[in-house]
Symmetry: C2
């Protein structure tokens, strides 16, 4: 089969870069000082029996972070980034993820290395067997398993262009067998470029162990790493031979079960190796990547891209020896490279040159221009071993120590995760509430899929239970008419009023003349004229002490400019509070205060604003829970009205307001009042939301005096508005008062079986 | 109490016209030839035990049409109009509503006059008692009961301006007692203007009955109408006296129960007369209006307006005698006028002059300019008895006969109700689907309230069960994420595809460059380029046989003009069918065919179009189930491409298309295919809608060959789109094929306890 020719066919080329990616990455949890953690797997992650993203591997301290399958390396890495953010912010405060493949210094006694406390007894038994057979310490090494699948469309196009094989599944298996053999043959290059386990800590090797001459490129990828015993030998000549060999060794007791067979590459079909004859090979798992300590994710995007092109190259390039020989040569080369000194030039330069130049030829032939930069960059490292990962590590270790290297980077990544704790790495372009919601969903082990990123459209899954969520709280728990009701102020008021709640009295007009005739009924009242569908306060006029016919008419003119229908509404005096009601419970109450600073008798308004703006909770464009306070024309005008400028120095405790409106989006403060407001008002809010039929609702109450108890049929309150997609981030991270994790409440509503 | 002064107060005047209105109207059902109907109350109206709008009165043939309470006369009349439309289109085809107060010719035998077959046995017993006590024939007369309530705000303002009475409820009762006495005193004017029962048919009076000298103005409002026996006398001096008198007569056996007391005015509080001491008088029921045969509703808007001003006048004008005397004088005057010849001038001209000129003074004093025209018009009739209703009737009866009068108008109104059977009188400004939906809701006896007319927002109620409905099929039965899913084509496709349905393959791009790079994958396929959120087909390019890079790039440019995200989608060949799925059942399937005419070898295209457009199903602006076919530039271009002009004469059976697109909104034909499409496709549609979680959905399937059975995992079909607010009117009234009453299906989904 001439794959090189097939790959260049006109019908194949458009699909050649299409692939699917997935990644599993282990990390030991350590203290911030670099000692193996002694705590159990954090309960905040829920149950390990189903968690799709955060698991434990061999030991209780060994986190395994798992990405979902992605259609690009970039997509895979963003998930990995998010999962890291969740893991780092969820482990105990005095812990971190140990960033090296080689474990931190291990306890003297083996029994202090705790095997992962899994629910499934057979999984525990298997780990006990491994501990006994290979020693606990070798199982403490961490690495990355990289799953790669050629897109089915690519396989199909390749299959269609050839005639040797007449079954597409067989063809696919043939493709992966070739690629696996080539991978084993050429994997020394991966070890060379990305090997990252040069030295071991004290007590890693037992005194009687045979030990490598450290430093090396990769202890983990050498025979000193976790390997099957020498008598385990498997042929990659065909899938049949491969399966037969493994089967025989299990029968003969050389392996306890199929999965004990450990190799740098694993052929994947179904869940078990025993599914392979039925499923054929569906994808391939590369197991020889060490953790790159120079990335907070243990791997960088260039590496992922290089691996992608490398996988194409393994398909492209012909084998030059019979299968078993070919693989055996690869093993020898890999061992040479793995155990070489990180700063020494390798002996395989010539083969390296050939691989890289063939890769570049391939990229040219397939028109993959953007690949040449990455491949070129790694080509440069062929003759510059100090630029490889292990090379750079050794430079640092020489001057400091391996444990310091681990400590410095581990702590740095841990701090980075808390710089903007309300954001979720990888998803920073999404709305803040959705970022927080995704954080919680990942933490609790719900499978997530971003159906539409711009539209904040998510799919969640747990077992068979699927939920779709938009904008973090638009869910299946509300019925369709509920948002339609809330969208319509007149309808909302009619329903609330019919249910006996106090809403501002008023009338709707679609005729200017008829609206004007209503003047006499409002001349001496406090009232508001507003367009029926108002946004951002446009077209609203407030008359706090009645209005002349002239002013009234002018207000109507302004309102009718915005809409064909206008509301004239009684003005309710008092303070407005946002009640966040979920599932018949008030989960949060918020007071919004206009942008302001408090004087200290020393600093100018400008300086006070700058100081207040330095709060990491403040940002721009709704990607932070609070917005920066501006000092533009409106704010300056507001200052002027108070006889101030931005250079004035307000007295100690003097509160200076910079805005009249209380919107958080114009620099206002959000103040949690959940525990301050009397239960009587909470009851009113709950009942009003129930009258509207809503499960999730932000309802705004005007309360003239919060120290007076509220009663449903009184003027102690008035309901202004109900919102069907109320902002949540401002409650989770308020300016003052306690944060309320509303996103978790929504998850609990959707998945009571998962979130308690 | 000087009401005249109170009403002119500054704080009262803005509220003086505010009032609430309601109306009950009886009609005998007759054959189209004018004989009393012999059929039972139509079962299509559901159950009389709760129907709020359509009931039976005394006899099984006597429909009682009841409006809900309205805030204006106009609002009340629109409901009355709608209820009439429903009644007329629901009774048997060979029946009509007899338009006269006096019944059509009655059967010889009393037993052929059937008492209404009500569920409540006591209601039947009461009717049997009335039949025995007063005779069945007098109970067969029909009329209008007009309910009137001064708005609570008006009562409150009046109350606030006085100091005589210190309880607002008592004040209100006092107001209504005065108005009731004045009404009884001056009601002769109503009898004069609106009396409409001049003659009786044979057999109405029994031979031994005392009979009036016909013609008169109003048999019904004279002592020859249905009246209590002479010994029943009640004082209106105060509510207490009134209740005492009635109570005593029941005790003495002169009345069987309170409600047997029959008077031209009834004081209303709660449901029973016995509630009045507790509730006070809340509104007043005027019972002396005959049916006006010159209106399809039995009453015209001017009459309603006049009654409104008359009610204000009765409050305005002082009483001039002691209560009982005052009422007695009124009875005498009324009898005089009722039994007068319809063409003769009355003796009460002087009092008439006084009433009318005082009314006009009042309108001036209160600034009600628009009232003067109506009052002026009726003033003119004071000296022109031939212009009154009875006057006009007598003119016709003289030349024809009373039964012909009833026949002609009854038949005319019946025909009018069928001119546009898809519309609902009173609600013609609403969307057609909502009009049909309202028709069905009224027919089945669901209480309806229009919460927002422009927004098609309805409230339905049956007992305690409330449902809100927008645009006729946006209901509580769908959950909130369902429409959000369908709004988003990418998300819809992802979900359907994940569930194993065939959707057009494709990709979404928000980068122009990346989209362009996809060219190779589509160069040789049939595909579509379209903006992600497309409306009205803007920005879409279809390539049926692949595209060059230039054409592809141009198509991208066009699409990116409309949206920031663009879809490239496989083009599925075949015919598109709309499946309307409701509650896991395909209720209708529709094929839409582009605007076309079929030649006859004689007429020009222009003539054929005109002929096709004469179908009453065709209209404009979505207020008819089909739109008129246009002959504008696009259509002429389409003709030109076929070598035709609008003056060409197509051959017999030749189909000439005038449009490429199949939208009904551009003159396309809607063809019902529900019984034609194989069940296998229905099953696919049902399962796809279930995968989307929807209860109500219009899902569009492309089917290449409908004669081949469809299977879910095949290319026998492709799902193009799912719609959460699918049009219903086109299915109810298709161009060809059977209509499907989808509105009734929606009602059944919402109210299974009412609609079977």
């Amino acid at each position: 089969m001439n794959y090189r020719e097939l790959m260049q066919k006109k019908n194949v080329r458009p699909y050649v870069l299409m692939a699917r990616f997935g990644l599993e990455k282990e990390n030991q949890r350590s203290t911030r000082e670099g000692l193996l953690a002694t705590t159990e797997h954090p309960t905040v992650f829920g149950n390990r029996s189903y968690h799709p993203y955060i698991q434990t591997d061999f030991s209780e301290t060994q986190l395994e972070l798992i990405t979902p399958v992605a259609n690009s390396g970039t997509e895979m890495l963003r998930f990995l980034d998010a999962i890291h953010d969740v893991a780092r912010r969820s482990i105990p405060e005095d812990e971190m993820l140990w960033p090296l493949s080689m474990p931190p210094q291990l306890p003297t006694k083996d029994e202090e290395i705790k095997i992962a406390k899994l629910d499934q007894y057979d999984a525990v038994l298997y780990r006990r067997y491994l501990a006994k057979e290979y020693g606990k310490r070798k199982q403490m090494v961490s690495g990355i398993h990289f799953n790669f699948e050629y897109d089915q469309a690519l396989i199909q196009q390749l299959y269609d262009e050839q005639s040797e094989v007449t079954d597409c599944k067989q063809f696919k298996t043939k493709v992966y067998m070739k690629v696996a053999r080539n991978f084993l043959r050429y994997r020394w290059l991966i070890t060379y470029l990305f090997g990252a386990s040069p030295v071991s800590e004290d007590r890693y090797f037992r005194v009687y162990d045979d030990q490598p001459q450290e430093p090396v490129r990769s202890i983990r990828n050498s025979t000193y790493g976790y390997r099957n015993h020498d008598n385990v030998k498997v042929s990659y000549a065909s899938l049949e031979r491969y399966l037969e060999d493994i089967h025989r060794m299990v029968e003969n007791g050389l392996l306890s079960e199929e999965k004990e067979f450990y190799a740098p590459v694993r052929l994947r079909g179904g869940k078990q190796m025993s599914d392979l004859p039925k499923t054929g090979i569906r994808y391939i798992e590369l197991r020889n990547l060490d953790l790159n300590p120079f990335s907070r994710l243990g791997i960088v995007e260039d590496t992922v891209d290089f691996l992608h092109y490398f996988m194409l190259y393994l398909l492209w390039t012909d084998e030059k020896e019979e299968a078993d020989e070919w693989v055996k040569t690869g093993d020898i080369f890999n061992e040479q490279v793995a155990l070489g000194h990180p700063h020494e030039t390798i002996k395989l330069i010539a083969e390296g040159d050939r691989i890289f130049s063939e890769m570049i030829d391939m990229l040219d032939a397939l028109g993959i221009r953007k690949g040449k930069e990455v491949v070129g960059k790694y080509y440069q490292q062929l003759r510059n071993p100090q630029d490889t990962v292990s090379g750079k590590m050794w430079t640092i270790i020489q001057e400091n120590s391996n444990s310091e290297l681990g400590n410095i980077f581990g702590n740095q990544y841990q701090s980075m995760a808390f710089e903007r704790p309300y954001q979720l790495a990888g998803f920073r372009e999404m709305e803040l509430s959705t970022q927080i919601f995704l954080f919680d969903a990942i933490q609790k082990g719900l499978e997530i899929e971003i159906l539409d990123e711009q539209e904040q459209f998510l799919k969640l899954q747990h077992g068979e239970h699927i939920e779709y969520v938009k904008n973090a709280n638009m869910t299946s728990k509300d019925n369709y008419v509920v948002p339609l009701i809330m969208e319509n102020k007149t309808v909302t008021k009619k329903i609330l009023s019919a249910a006996g709640f106090h809403v501002p009295g008023g009338e709707e007009f679609s005729s200017f003349i008829e609206a004007q005739e209503a003047h006499l009924r409002y001349a001496n009242k406090a009232f508001v004229v507003k367009p029926k569908s108002t946004n951002y306060g446009l077209g609203i006029t407030i008359f706090k002490e009645g209005a002349s016919l002239e002013d009234f008419t002018e207000a109507l003119r302004i309102a009718f400019k915005e809409d064909t229908a206008v509301l004239i509404e009684e003005f309710l005096p008092g303070t407005e509070y946002r009640f966040f009601v979920l599932d018949n419970d008030v989960k949060a109450i918020m007071l919004r205060v206009p942008a302001n600073v408090t004087g200290d008798g020393k600093h100018t308004v400008e300086e006070l604003v700058a100081a207040k703006n330095s709060d990491p909770l403040r940002g721009t464009n709704h990607r932070a829970p609070l917005e920066l306070i501006q000092l533009n024309d409106l704010e300056k005008l507001m200052l002027k009205e108070q006889g101030l400028t931005i250079y004035s120095v307000p007295e100690k405790e003097q509160i200076v307001y910079l805005r009249e409106n209380s919107n958080v989006s114009t620099g206002g403060d959000s103040i949690d009042m959940t525990d301050v407001i009397d239960d009587s008002y909470k009851q009113i809010a709950i009942e009003a939301v129930a009258a509207l039929g809503a499960k999730i609702c932000g309802i705004d109450l005007i309360i003239p005096d919060k120290d007076v108890k509220g009663t449903r049929d009184s003027l102690t309150y008035g309901i202004i508005e109900a919102n069907f997609n109320p902002a949540m981030h401002m409650h989770v991270y308020p300016y003052a008062g306690q944060g309320r994790r509303l996103t978790m409440d929504v998850l609990k509503l959707l998945y009571p079986e998962v979130v308690q």
